[in-house]
Amino acid sequence: MKIKELFLKPYSKYIWIALMLVAWELTAKLAPVSPLAFPSLELILTALIDSIINGDILMQMLFSLGLILIGLGIGVALAFMMSFLSVVSPVFASFTDTCVSIFHPLPGIALLPLIILWIGTGSMAILFIIVHSVLWPMILNMTAGFKAIPEVYKKIGKNYEFNTLQSIIRIFVPASLSFLIAGLKISWARGWRAAISAEMIFGASGGIGGIGWYIFNKRVFMDTAGVYAGILMIIAVGIFVEDVVFGQLEKNTIKKWGVA
């Protein structure tokens, strides 16, 4: 059956998206809905193009992505230190376990009132929320990954007289890479959401602000098409990161190695 096969291909995501867009356009055009709630695709695309040409949406996107990258970097580095120490020291492991069980279920946004008091409302505060969202899932994945490293690899490390740094770089990281990538994916998704939510609350404290601020601004000035334009950008970036960035990363590492 040809239609069925169409939806089993890797690109089936894009067919679904196209179908949803058609359903959207039909609803906007034919159903008795207010354009303030349900703008047509033309309105949304016009708003998007206008924001790209005349506005700051691309800069705001880059600003958000930049924040995420820094936050991911800090979060991953911290998670790495804590996970490695946990693998080496059972005492530290119990400390890490405690921290994870306390902080992992805590949404960064719930900490917001405290963050305002501690570090204010600037990019540092958004960064703090991103690091918080990234750190705990990353630790969970990293410790699981380190524990899953086959004993034989560790023996080989000893046999070839690797020092600690060499065993981290040459054995621990590559041997647990499938866990690290899974952790990165979760962290990215959580960090991205946290960043946008925080931006929607804090506004342009860094200057032009991020994509969350763009959406919030469109909301308060009642530019519904603009709100959808911002959401479209977020979806596009999400798909890009998932399919292209992580897709390529996996293709060139764990899938190539046959350890996925």
């Binding site: 609803t27 354009p35 804090f202 506004g203 032009i208």
Partner: protein, 320 residues
Amino acid sequence: MKKFMIILSIMVLLLTAGCAKTETAGGQKTIRIAEQYGIAYAPVQIMKAQGLLEKNCPGIAISWEQMNNTAAIREAMVADRLDAGFMAIPPFLIGWDNGMDWKIATGLSSVPTGLVTNTSINNLAELSEKDRIAVPQPGSVQHILLAMACDRDFGYPQKLDNQLVTLSHPDGMNALLSGGDVTAHFTATPYLEKELATPGFHQILSGNEAFGGEFSFIVGVTTKKLHDQNPEVYAAFNQAVAEAITFIKDHPQEAAVILSDAYDLPEAGVLAYLSAADTEYSQTVKGLQTFSDFMLKTGYLKKSFENPTAVIWEQTDYED
């Protein structure tokens, strides 16, 4: 193929189900009102506590919807889940500008507003690029007042736009008083008074200075649907607001008891706010034209009105 069609039709069903809404049939005596808290909304609370709507329209079914910001009220009205709400003039104009079918039904209040900073800053010019200014949200009356002052002082209304931080009044107060990067807060009663009572903070700009006169801080807005299809309810709504305002003026002590109960605030404090010199409850809409002209000139609005009746229901008092 058959399975595919079934899946598709289920999807269509789900999509359309999301658009169904609870219709309020015209003629039925119902009203859905946004309920908000604060001294500036005092008549709304009195109206609710005293049952003034019920008195003026026997048999009315009232649904009080708790809302905490203007954007939410606008969105609820677009979704036809709300008939009446209270807000400042700028966010109302933004909604009207974008095609919302609503008009101002009544003025409600003028309360003290102002920009509070730490005492190391003495005027707008001394706010550096590092200073962050907390406002409830862009497009709020606080933001527009700040833009008006910037326009007058520097000829550049957007001068401070990139330094705004969106924080609710209590969060904004905490951020200011904690001495972090938020060094200024454009707020209103009672946060204004609390901040000014804290050593090390003072007001560098009042709302009236920024505006260049008096203006309605909060007005009551209703949809065209309510106004046209339910004239009886609409009239009762206006009458109830009028009676609530009169009650506050005539019986400030009793009003303070009701409000202190509803807001969980000390009675004496509420009474002081109600009877402050700058606090005035009035049905007259003030400052509409000035706001509109300014916002049009500075690009916050795309269109204006020739006659105020385009944005105010008939029989509503206004002055400029």
